[in-house]
Each structure stands twice: as structure tokens, then as C-alpha cells.
Symmetry: C2
Subunit: 359 residues, 2 copies
DNA sequence: CTGTTAGCGCGTTCAG
DNA sequence: CTGAACGCGCTAACAG
């Protein structure tokens, strides 16, 4: 037999249910019953059919089945960039969770373009897909009407809200607030924040900044704008630069909240290069609890956004919508709006809480 | 109209070609012609049909089309772990390249399990997929027969060889050799290597180690086993530990070849923590040229495995096989075996070559 | 428990 | 250049 890879299409000679039926001397329906594990098939016929399947090397033709069933068992996941650890992680978790529910995932990087994001929404693929988990970055509140699509949709993040779709988001504000409060409780008073995006109102930077300020506010610490260092990109080097800038200004903080772990890693490095100690001189907290954070030295205390929960929830909700059932305990006509609680993963880049603060 | 997400399946009410045909007062065939950009359709009818499509919001039904055509326009990419930057990068590039050729990609993480890898190969999905790009980690030469699958397959890496499938690989040996030679030319004589896997023969660690030794050999430098530090995992902390171990032993090298950029990053950190300078005291070279490497300080000199070329080649070859044409300039019955040339990306973690060595 | 029949939506002969 | 009828492989009634 020539290898399929040397032929045009593998479909040409693949055996069908009909072939199996003939060989097993049963009807097509019976084969279908066996293949789909229909309960009421006699053990004898089942064996007969399986034998024929084995001998012919029969594999079910998924496209045909899809056509008949009207769905494909495939969902799409649209994210800005698969090379970002955050999204790679998310994708991996979504794929894993989907698999548990018998769903496959088509990952679609939208590559920071508005076009890409719109195409993910309206592209021709959509008869091929049962639903979409959508994490927009470029689209904003002005684009809400774009979300009126003829298939189930779960929206990730907090850039767009509509009462007409299900949302799953992470706690940006609460997470940053938690981190900042933790630093305050551990004795920090001059807490810098790295990675702000001045002028931005949507997006993680703005939300996390708000959390930071809220924490300060509640603790009665006045916000010092000089301690907020912008960083357009959130790479390691940006964190290093930001931290150096701060240190050069003579304004040495006793704590740092970095808006992601890369920034934190850079800050760590800048601090240590000056002979200062983390956490003795300066505590550092990161964001995202990326896999790397545990491998830094000192291991990085970080806010874990609960990506597992995001993945689990969004896939489950989508699956329910596809199946036409109400997700979770949601009332009819209502939509899921769920914020996943973030947790602070304490490692060695922050000082311990004094005994009085622990519980 | 109720939102689809509140209904069972979106398929129920989607307009078909028949609906479009009726509305445009033409035959189904004509609609099909228009949709598929068949050349010989009068401008008038084309317009008429397009208008009807617009009004009805018609979208072509991909599963039906797939059934008829016998292929799906979808390929799978099986990799060990999507959260590894290397594979995330590769996936992203493959998706991009596939898109250019009108193909969609189903990413399938096999999660370091033999089962997962076998399932990717033989799983039921395969009538749903036109071909597979396959990067095994657990499978070895004993499993060659598993690769006899009824669809086009492109094999990535150097773990399994068969004359019966197309291969695309990166230059592990050559890359490591290149890196080591570069260090030698820049004046290093005591070159450590971090990340070896003693006892392993397949796999990147072994191949890269060979390249390192070849370079030493050619330069007439004797290999000192104490300079080869094993590291099972290739995380940042492993690099840091390995480097510390070396430094503690009193055996201070003047150059380090790390088997990936994470290891290199850790080594960098360990070196700097001792007050030693990179590259003045010790040069460091990494592997993979990951996105992070440029954001380390000093920016990391690294071997770029040419992932773009791997992605481009493997998708192209697969596409050709799917279309039944000979890839590249390959003779019939021959198979592609292509190693992508790696390049050394020189940044600031290595000393400059003396004038005599430059070209 | 099993067989028969009728499409799912599309592309494609083959006539016109 | 266009229309009518067929079948891709499968599942869901409904009989038997």
C-alpha cells in the first residue's frame, strides 16, 4: 500500500460505514450503533462489527458526522498573542479543560490587530465552530454591537461589557489591592508601582493601578505620584529600567508592586545590582504568578490570577450554551458575569507579616 | 431574534445556499459559483447573488463543504507543551504560516505522555484533519512503525528517523559547536557547559553536548568533565544552581554554553551575584534565542534555532503532500530531510572577537 | 434488538 | 453561462 502522504487525499480509499456493514453482514445503522456505543446492541453483533472495523481499519468520518449533527465539537479561542506566557498558559488550560468535555480547540492569535479580532468574530470559519472564547485587546466599548454573533460566545477580560453575553474576568483591581495591602501590613510605607499606562482607562494597567491606590487610601497612606513608574511594555528590561530610574531619583521605596512578573524580575535585578537586598531592603510583588516566578531568586511573591478557574469556567459556560442549558445557577435571560478571585502566592521576595497581622 | 447563545444550536436557522438561490432567483449552482469565485459568472448575476447573501447573512457551511470535498483545510500540530516558550513560539509561527496557505491549525499538547503522543497520531480526529506536524518527545526509534499513518505527516526534531516520512529539524550539534567555537575565538579556554543529561543519547541535550565537544576537539582543547554540569530541567533556577555549583567548586570558567536561555539567565544571575562581570570575567551563550534573551542584562548572546524556517518548511511540505505534489525539489519516493541552519545572535553577554578573527 | 429510509448542505456531473 | 438531480458518510426516526 502506498503511503497516504504520497497520494492526493487520504479520503479516496478510506472505508466507510457501508463497507463495514457489508463485511460484517449487518446494516449501516447497526454499525453506527456500535460506533456510537448505543446501549442495546447484542454482544455478538457488537463483536462482529468491531472485528470488521478492525480488519478494514475503519475510522469514523468526522466531517460527515458533523454535517449530520449540525455541530462540530470544536470551539475557538481568540487571544492576542500565543507567545505571551499568560496566553500560552491560558490556551493550554482551555485546551485541557475542553478535552475533558469532549471539545477541541482552535487557537486563533489575533496579533494585536483590530482586523484580526474582528475576523475571529465574523470570519468564515464559524460554521465550523460551536462557540468562541474571546479575549479582545483592541476592541472597546464602541464595538459592542460586533459581539452580536450567531453562535455562543464567552467574553474574557474587562474591556467590553454587554448584558447580552457571558463574561469571565480576573480580579485586576482586587489583586493589586491585595498585593499592596500585603506590603503595607508587612511594614512597607513607600510602595512603588511599576508598569502604569498613563491616560489609559480600560485595560489591566489602569485597573491594577486603581487597586494599588485603593489600598493606599484605605491604609491612610498618601499616594506619591513619583512612585508610579510607567512602562509601556511589560518586559523584563522595562522593569529593570523603571526600577533604575526610581533608584537614580534617590527615591528609594521599601516595596514594589510590579504589574507583571517580567517587570518584577527586572526590578529584582536592578535592586540586586545595587547591592540592595530583596526583601530586606525592598519587597517586590509581581502579577500573573507565571511559571518563572518560582524560579527567580529570591522566588517571587506574585498575584495568581486564577487562570485555571478562568479556563474552567469559560469552557463550562460555553459548553452549556452550546448544549442549550443554563450555565451554573444563572436565570434564563441572565448572563454569567464571573470574576475569578485572585490569590497572593507568597514566596521569598516579600518580608513576612508581623505576628500581629497573621491569621 | 433571540441570541444564538440562548438557543440550542446555531445551525437550526442558518440560511443555506438554497435559501440564497431562491431569494436571488437563481439556481443553487449559480450561488455556489459565486461563493467559490468561479470565473464565468456574469457580473449581473454575481451582484444579485451577493446581495441575497448579504441580506440573508449567509455563511458557507464548512462541514458540508468538507464532506463533499473530502478534506477540511485543517492541520494538527502536536507538541509536548504549549506553555514552553519554545513551543508557544513554534505554534504561533506555524499558525501564521498555515494561514498564509489557507490552512487552520489544531494545536494539540501531548503533555509529556506517551499516550498523548500516540493519540495525536491515531486519535479519532483524523478524518477531521488533512495532515499533521508532529514533534514527539516520548516516542523513540522503537516506535517507527507507529508513524505509518493514513495521512500526510511531517516529523519535527531528531528523535525518530524513517525514510518514509518528511523531516524538518534544527541544527543542535552545529549550533552548539558554533557557540562554543565563537567563545574559543573570543579568547575563552575554560568553557563550561550547563544542562547536560548524562546517559541520554537522543534529545537536544545529547546533541548539543556533542557539538560542544566537537568544537573543543577541533580547537585542540581537552574536554574537562568537571566543566559539564548536568541539569535535568532547564529552568532559570536550574541554571543558577548549576553555575553556583561550578563557582563553589573553585573551578571558575571563562565561558559558559547554556543549553537554553533560561539556564543562561540563571547562570548570568549567579555570576553577577558574586560580583563577577559578564562578559568581562565570564562570557555566556544561551540557546533558543527566546524573546526574553534580548531583555536580560546584559542582553544574551544566543543560538537562534531558526524556528521561522522550521515553521515555514514544515507547513509548506505538509501542504504539498496534502495537495499531492512533490515538495521542494524532492524526487518521487524521496522524502524531505531538512535541517534548518541555526545562527548565532550576538548580543552583550560575550566578548567581542579579536580583530584577527572577524570577517 | 436490527433494518429501511430520508435528509444534513454542498459541489458536480450533464443537459440545456 | 445556468438549472436539475445525485451523492459525499452519517444519524435519526420509524418500522419490523
Amino acid at each position: 500500500m502506498p503511503k497516504a502522504s504520497e497520494m492526493g487525499s487520504e479520503q479516496s480509499s478510506m472505508p466507510t460505514m457501508k463497507d463495514v456493514a457489508k463485511r460484517a453482514a449487518v446494516s449501516i445503522k447497526t454499525v453506527s450503533n456500535v460506533v456510537n456505543n448505543y446501549e442495546f446492541v447484542s454482544e455478538a453483533t457488537r463483536k462482529k462489527v468491531n472485528k470488521a472495523i478492525q480488519e478494514l481499519g475503519y475510522v469514523i468520518n468526522v466531517p460527515a458526522r458533523n454535517l449530520r449533527l449540525g455541530h462540530t465539537g470544536m470551539i475557538a479561542l481568540a487571544i492576542p498573542d500565543l507567545t505571551l506566557p499568560y496566553f500560552a498558559q491560558l490556551s493550554s488550560l482551555v485546551i485541557e479543560e475542553a478535552k475533558k468535555l469532549g471539545l477541541r480547540v482552535l487557537v486563533e492569535p489575533t496579533l494585536y490587530s483590530r482586523e484580526g479580532e474582528l475576523e475571529a468574530l465574523h470570519g468564515a470559519q464559524h460554521s465550523m465552530i460551536d462557540g468562541l472564547i474571546y479575549s479582545p485587546l483592541e476592541l472597546g466599548m464602541d464595538d459592542v454591537r460586533e459581539l452580536d454573533v450567531p453562535y455562543p460566545l464567552v467574553l474574557l477580560g474587562e474591556r467590553i461589557f454587554t448584558p447580552d453575553t457571558d463574561h469571565v474576568a480576573t480580579e485586576n483591581v482586587e489583586g493589586a489591592k491585595h498585593a499592596t495591602t500585603y506590603l503595607i501590613n508587612s511594614g512597607c510605607r513607600k510602595i512603588a508601582v511599576i508598569g502604569t499606562h498613563p491616560g489609559e482607562e480600560l485595560g489591566s494597567a489602569a485597573l491594577r493601578f486603581n487597586g494599588y491606590k485603593e489600598a493606599l487610601d484605605e491604609a491612610g497612606i498618601e499616594f506619591d505620584p513619583r512612585l508610579a513608574v510607567p512602562a509601556r511594555m511589560w518586559h523584563r528590561l522595562d522593569g529593570e529600567n523603571a526600577m533604575n530610574e526610581l533608584l537614580d531619583s534617590g527615591l528609594v521605596p521599601d516595596g514594589v508592586v510590579a504589574f507583571n512578573d517580567m517587570l518584577a524580575s527586572g526590578a529584582l535585578h536592578a535592586i540586586q545590582m545595587r547591592g540592595l537586598k530583596v526583601p530586606d531592603d525592598i519587597s517586590v510583588i509581581g502579577f500573573d504568578n507565571s511559571e518563572d516566578s518560582q524560579y527567580l531568586s529570591p522566588a517571587l511573591t506574585s498575584i495568581s490570577p486564577g487562570l485555571e478557574a478562568v479556563a474552567r469556567l469559560s469552557v463550562r459556560v460555553l459548553k452549556d450554551r452550546i448544549d442549550g442549558v443554563q450555565p451554573l445557577g444563572i436565570a434564563p435571560d441572565e448572563h454569567v458575569f464571573r470574576k475569578v478571585t485572585s490569590t497572593l502566592v507568597i514566596r521569598n521576595s516579600t518580608r513576612e507579616l508581623p505576628a500581629s497581622q497573621r491569621n
